[in-house]
Symmetry: C2
């Protein structure tokens, strides 16, 4: 008897109908001591196991409860009931391991509605719920689609270092990494910490971005992307921030800003199309949940589109490309701005855009994803390419409804004199970044790239609202459990 | 004129022959001021650009040197010379950026033979060399094959936390992670470090393995795998150790030891077959390099197989499965052991195997990959499943020639009483791992998994001999440059 996943049985059953099969999983429900809903994580759907109690030991039947793990062998037959294609007529059932039914009552595995907060406290068990099964299967599909997109487009996957001595980008607060015993930190003759005695012989941190290293690789391999963890030691206790999150950062030699925007648009459409095709049942579940959640909100706060509808529109609609200068005009002249409805009023060219402004542009003004480009150089990083106007840089942000910025990127400054001038102006240490500057010395080329925060994309695709619910074990201020 | 990669031109040229195309890249050589060998990183092969200097500005021609970055437009024609299918008759050439030819002389981009040590010191430039281009393209292909294998087999990709409060597995020395200013570490009333004031409110470290968290996910999603960075603060300055490296850790509900060995064997064969199919030109280059390196060695130390031959044999040969007990017999009775040729003599059952023993079994005794299983419980981790003999655990190691252990794994202890007993015996803190024990309380199931160090596999596949040469920016004692 061949062992099958429940996904195999439900999607691929034609050739094995009326065969004997074996399946293992966890009991989601045992109705009327006759119908077991069994799940093995391969899909959100359960398979129904029909148990004729007369054929089984009474003790066995009594021990089958919610969360029990069982092995079932039996015949796969067409289902009589609605909502399922096939079911199993059980011939043999075996309990696979312990199930402490009394302790279960205080866990989230107990079959009733639990708050997302409570589910988070038992993050090690929430994989067993419909909701988090769906979220993490979708997260996995998104990740695979990302790798497949880049692989199909001749990109090479690059692993940039997590532990870094460089603190140059200034993208945010960093965590220190040390092998020192903090009770006995060695000092030098001046009483300063003697980092030469630490593991790496100098002060090291957890990276905030692999971009600068990825640029060096793009100067040899042409097209590269990173996809790995990134860290921020910002004390932000919000639904949008994590101390540890996953970033995707492509970097492409010979690309200019327009190529970069094309890449970002094609990339997002590919990944979302992939999920629409490969995660149908999970998305249907999340779509329903999203609709119910919207109903609880006051009408003015409700999303205009259903979850799946929203995803389909991303794939269908061309992203609107708008310069920062145009966007500022639109925002300054908007009713919202004039009536003082923005928390941060838009007063003049040069202002940094807030999430409320980005969402206004996407949700109210254009009604589709928006790509802003050519930002004032003062509000962007030193490595972004200076435009001919001397005022703006070739930066780009992709804005999505509900999220705001989902991608941020730029063409990079490839002219060594301009780069050095910018570094001086922005107090970036040239000596520390000697290797970065080197890439502009030996066959420097125009190049461009961007960064995507994976969790933001997973939030968007799943319709979840707290970023802690789209990463298995979130790391946030005062929380590093598990 | 459509922009193409050099890989496009060399592999897919039939439909664009005699068309005008545009290509960008770096000059590898400019022979007789007439033939440019151009590379863009998409493949190890260069395309030849034929320049009739009479059609171009003299200054432009003078400025084209090794490492120059250029954009070339011209007609793609069949090549007259040997060793290449097509070449470009240049109509337009443009310099893309600076090339400081004098400074170039002190870099590894200068066209002569450089030591691997020197290449490592300029890790930011070594992507431009044939050797490291090949190594990192192969590393990328291996990574993609890993994702594809698991995706095709219904596994979900899981991101386990990098920063962790758990120090339970005891797999090695850990790096501390802190947001403290090390000059002003807060103390409590007893003079102890007050970790409640640190970012996470407790002492945190960089993970040494995602396995325990992956087990919790497998208890809901069924089949999961992690693929991410892992850390060891071991002060080992060898050709085999990194402080930061990438690990792959599948974990599968309902799998026993034999399923686990099957999975490991299928997995390795799939990945190596993928690289053989998708990295032909890079492997040919590495194969040649490997052969030359072998020639430098005394005959007795030379590898028995060529690089590609070795990889093909992995795919073809069935791995030999041998119990630890049998292996110890073989080793104890070997000539090597009796003549005292092992650095660590094998004296009795229970001994831990060293790399020299593993390699003896693979290279001398069996002549094929070997899977050892059922190790003495004393030399293995607490979570491995105790066998009925009470003496051994259901552990497995896959051994490869030249490398020794490439995969280590086990069936996990799913019986809560046995697990607790083992934890007590091995001094593992039960309270800290409350969540791990929970997974044995609510529908515990047999399950199994393993770990693969990515860099070891890349070493094996590329034939490189120092692990620092198969990761872009190695992290080792006293070294966190870039």
């Amino acid at each position: 008897m061949e062992r099958k996943t429940i996904k195999d049985l439900l999607t691929d059953y034609k050739t094995i109908l009326h065969h004997d099969i074996t399946v293992m999983g966890w009991v989601r429900a045992f109705r009327s001591k006759r119908f077991i809903a069994l799940n093995d994580g391969s899909t959100i759907d359960n398979i129904q196991v029909v148990v004729d109690f007369e054929n089984f030991d009474e003790n066995l039947i009594k021990n089958i409860n919610t969360a029990s793990s069982i092995k079932v062998s039996g015949e796969l037959v067409e289902s009589q009931g609605a909502g399922q294609s096939v079911e199993i007529i059980a011939k043999k059932i075996e309990l696979l391991g312990d199930n402490f039914f009394e302790e279960l009552q205080s866990t989230i595995l107990q079959p009733k509605k639990h708050s997302l907060e409570k589910l988070r406290e038992q993050a090690h068990l929430r994989f067993r719920t419909n909701l988090f099964g769906a979220v993490f299967r979708v997260r996995s599909a998104i990740s695979f689609a990302i790798h497949q997109f880049f692989n199909q487009n001749q990109f090479f996957y690059l692993n940039t270092p997590l532990i870094t001595g460089a603190d140059a980008e200034g993208a945010g607060e960093m965590f220190g990494v040390t092998a020192f015993d903090l009770d006995q930190i060695p000092k030098d003759e001046n009483g300063d910490i003697d980092y030469t005695q630490d593991f790496f012989g100098k002060k090291t941190n957890l990276t905030v971005s692999g971009q600068l290293e990825a640029e060096t690789a793009a100067m040899g391999l042409g097209r590269v992307y990173t996809f790995g963890p990134t860290f921020r030691a910002e004390n932000s206790n919000t639904t949008r921030h994590l101390a540890e999150f996953w970033m995707v950062e492509p970097e492409v030699a010979f690309n200019n800003l327009e190529d970069n925007i094309d890449l970002a648009e094609n990339f997002l459409k590919y990944v979302i199309q992939y999920v629409l095709e490969h995660c149908k049942t999970d998305l249907q579940f999340l779509d329903k949940r999203f609709a119910e959640e919207q109903k609880q909100k006051p009408e003015k706060d409700r999303a205009k589109e259903g979850l799946i509808e929203k995803l389909e529109n991303i794939v269908k609609k061309r992203f609107k490309r708008v310069s920062y200068t145009e966007a500022i005009e639109i925002l300054m002249n908007s009713k919202e701005n004039k009536k003082g409805k923005f928390q941060f009023p838009v007063e003049s060219w040069g202002a940094d855009l807030q999430s409320e402004h980005e969402r206004y542009l996407v949700e109210k003004h254009f009604g589709c994803p928006v790509v802003l480009f050519d930002y004032p150089k003062e509000i962007k990083a030193f490595y972004m390419r200076l435009n001919d106007d001397g005022k703006t840089v070739a930066a780009m942000d992709v804005l999505f409804s509900g999220i705001g910025e989902i991608i941020g990127g730029s063409q990079r400054e490839e002219r060594i004199d301009v780069l050095r001038q910018k570094m001086k102006e922005m107090n970036v240490d040239e000596e520390e970044l000697w290797w970065y500057i080197d890439t502009r010395k030996f066959g420097s080329v125009p190049h461009a790239g961007f960064g995507l925060g994976l969790e933001r994309l997973v939030l968007f695709v799943t319709g979840m609202s707290n970023i802690r619910d789209v990463i298995p074990f979130p790391r946030t201020p005062k929380n590093a459990e598990f």
